[in-house]
């Protein structure tokens, strides 16, 4: 028997200095759990780092503009519901505003208040859902989203009570809103609005200090201020980069100059700022809602003469501060009952311009969060 010495073996340890990976090209989407619909991005990866990212659109291109040019002005109102299907009320308002601007229609006092109430309720449920979906992308599989949807249902019930539909409200009309609020609606709305801060407290306790959210959102997907302006970014994404530009303050459309509210601004422009801006904006929306509910006057809610009309040859660009950014409608009339040109300026679509800039050099898992923090809805991106 030979005696074997027991000694550690020698291993060659690879230094890794010349370790290179091939660039991996991934087509992410259109069916992917984290692309918020049928969005697709062609990503090139070096290891896990994004070196190129090209968004691909059109999987929900429903020809909204072409259809609108073959129907009457009022006929397009239900289609605007389906642009950004989270926020049908604000879509209605933007379109009504553009037509009112073109035709010079006045809106009664009570209708202006109803519009503000509906728009701010829309902003509440949109931002709450967005935060839910964003945390879903972060791996918090479901819980914050379920909280947000639970709260969203209260607001959808209000919409349904007033307009007859949960999501596709089709509630605004040129020169007002379709019908007055049912009796008891305002009291119920007041209750929902009063209860909302409790949900906000719960939500913020759950999320804002969460270690995973802090480490995965802070300094990820930074959008510099100058690039944000040059690339026409609007809405919470712009304000997260520190630009004070809120159309409710700038244009003062409707009656927004009567309400006291603040515009939250970010300082870094990363995903965490975009996430926090939504939470802070919800607080401000609650403030506006409380003021509007306290001061809403009685009176007519629409102008029955403004149903179907034939505008003079003219063009107009009307825009509002939607929950996702500046939603604009560009209308050209040639004197016939149908618009000659009907164009939507979709905030989600244009906010995606900087997706590549924000994702370059980040990990592929962070690209998902950057996309989630922009807040896109594909109905509006592709129209």
């Amino acid at each position: 028997m030979s005696t074997e010495t027991i000694a550690p073996r020698e291993y060659q340890i690879y230094s890794g200095d010349d370790l290179r990976t091939n660039v991996l090209e991934i087509s992410m989407g259109p069916q992917h759990p984290s692309t918020h619909g049928v969005f697709r991005m062609d990503v090139s990866l070096d290891g896990e780092t994004v070196v190129k990212l090209k968004p691909v659109f059109g999987y929900l291109h429903r020809n909204h503009e072409k259809i609108a040019e073959t129907t009457s002005y009022l006929g397009s109102m239900p289609y605007t519901d389906r642009l950004d299907y989270f926020c049908s009320m604000t879509n209605n308002w933007a379109y009504a505003l553009a037509v009112e601007k073109m035709a010079g229609l006045a809106v009664p006092e009570r209708a202006e208040y109803i519009r503000v109430i509906m728009a701010e309720l829309t902003r509440l449920q949109n931002h709450a859902s967005l935060v839910g979906f964003l945390t879903n992308d972060l791996g918090a599989s479901g819980t914050p989203l379920l909280y947000a949807i639970r709260e969203r249902e209260h607001i959808l019930d209000l919409f349904e009570w007033a307009s007859g539909a949960r999501m596709m409200c089709n509630y605004m009309r040129f020169g007002g809103v379709r019908n007055d609020l049912p009796s008891g609606w305002l009291a119920q709305c007041k209750k929902v609005v009063d209860d909302f801060p409790a949900f906000m407290d719960e939500f913020e306790t759950l999320l804002t200090g969460n270690e995973i959210i802090l480490s995965r959102c802070q300094n990820v997907g930074v959008l510099p201020r100058d690039l944000a302006i040059n690339a026409s970014i609007t809405g919470p994404c712009l304000r997260a980069s520190g630009v004070d530009y809120d159309l409710r303050k700038v244009d003062k459309y409707g009656i927004y100059d009567r309400f006291d509210f603040k515009v939250p601004l970010g300082s870094v422009g990363d995903c965490y700022d975009r996430f926090m801006i939504r939470l802070l904006e919800m607080r401000e929306s609650v403030k506006i809602l409380k003021q509007a509910l306290a001061t809403i006057p009685e009176g007519p809610v629409n102008d029955s003469k403004a149903r179907n009309f034939r505008p003079k040859p003219a063009e107009a660009y009307g825009r509002i501060e939607g929950p996702k950014g500046e939603l604009g409608f560009y209308l050209v009339s040639d004197g016939t009952p149908k618009p000659h040109r009907y164009h939507v300026r979709p905030p989600s679509f244009i906010n995606l311009t900087v997706l590549e800039d924000m994702c370059l050099g980040q990990k592929i898992a962070d690209a998902v969060i950057v996309l989630g923090s922009i807040d896109i809805v594909l109905g509006e991106v592709d129209r």
Binding site: N63, E65, K66, I229, Y317, G328, I350, V354
Partner: protein
């Protein structure tokens, strides 16, 4: 309303369209005008909000005019078609706007100057106008189809676009759809339709 006179004074080839309160900018000058508007301290139009293509078909209008001798004379007025790209510029720095800029071109050979080098925000919207209207943007860094697939040949938002005929089955056709659906009806049923 923003005072447009300084622009018109500085760039004499730029025309003012009073009806739409828009500036009609020749293609050769478009980049220069946009750059000036963006950087001039009085305007600071740093934000291109909206970019839209507009297609107008040529119109032929016949009007009958009574002559002094009692006979009718037909006068044909022709209005040529056009392809336009409309930009709405705002200022985030000074919080004013809009200034509307139009580049007008022909329907047969639509070529305009891309403003993407000045405004990144125009990138996707110009691609959309290229995709749906077939307008060529000179100087655009990445002019590809954006909404339709790459193999697609038509420009669907043009007014004279003919859509594919998939009206084989229409349960409740009316108006224009009925006319299209009728082409697919079997012979016998067409006659009953006509009889009714």
């Amino acid at each position: 309303m923003i005072d447009l006179a300084p622009i018109l004074a500085k760039f004499p080839p730029v025309k003012h369209d009073a009806a739409a309160n828009a500036l009609i900018v020749p293609q050769a000058l478009a980049l220069e005008v946009a750059k000036w508007l963006r950087d001039d301290p009085a305007y600071r139009m740093d934000y291109a909000s909206n970019v839209a293509g507009v297609d107008t078909l040529p119109v032929e209008k016949k009007t009958k005019v009574k002559q002094p001798d009692g006979t009718d004379k037909e006068i044909v007025t022709k209005k040529p078609g056009s392809m336009e790209v409309v930009y709405h510029l705002y200022s985030m720095a000074l919080k004013h706007g809009p200034i509307t800029i139009k580049q007008v071109t022909t329907r047969e050979n639509p070529v305009v100057t891309s403003l993407t080098p000045i405004y990144r925000g125009a990138e996707f919207q110009e691609r959309e106008a290229f995709d749906l209207y077939g307008i060529q943007f000179e100087g655009h860094p990445d002019l590809r189809r954006i909404l339709m697939w790459d193999e697609f040949k038509d420009f669907p938002m043009r007014k004279d676009y003919v859509e594919p005929d998939d009206y084989e089955y229409e349960p409740t056709p009316h108006d224009a759809v009925l006319a299209k659906a009728k082409a697919h009806y079997p012979k016998a049923s067409t006659s009953t339709e006509a009889a009714s």
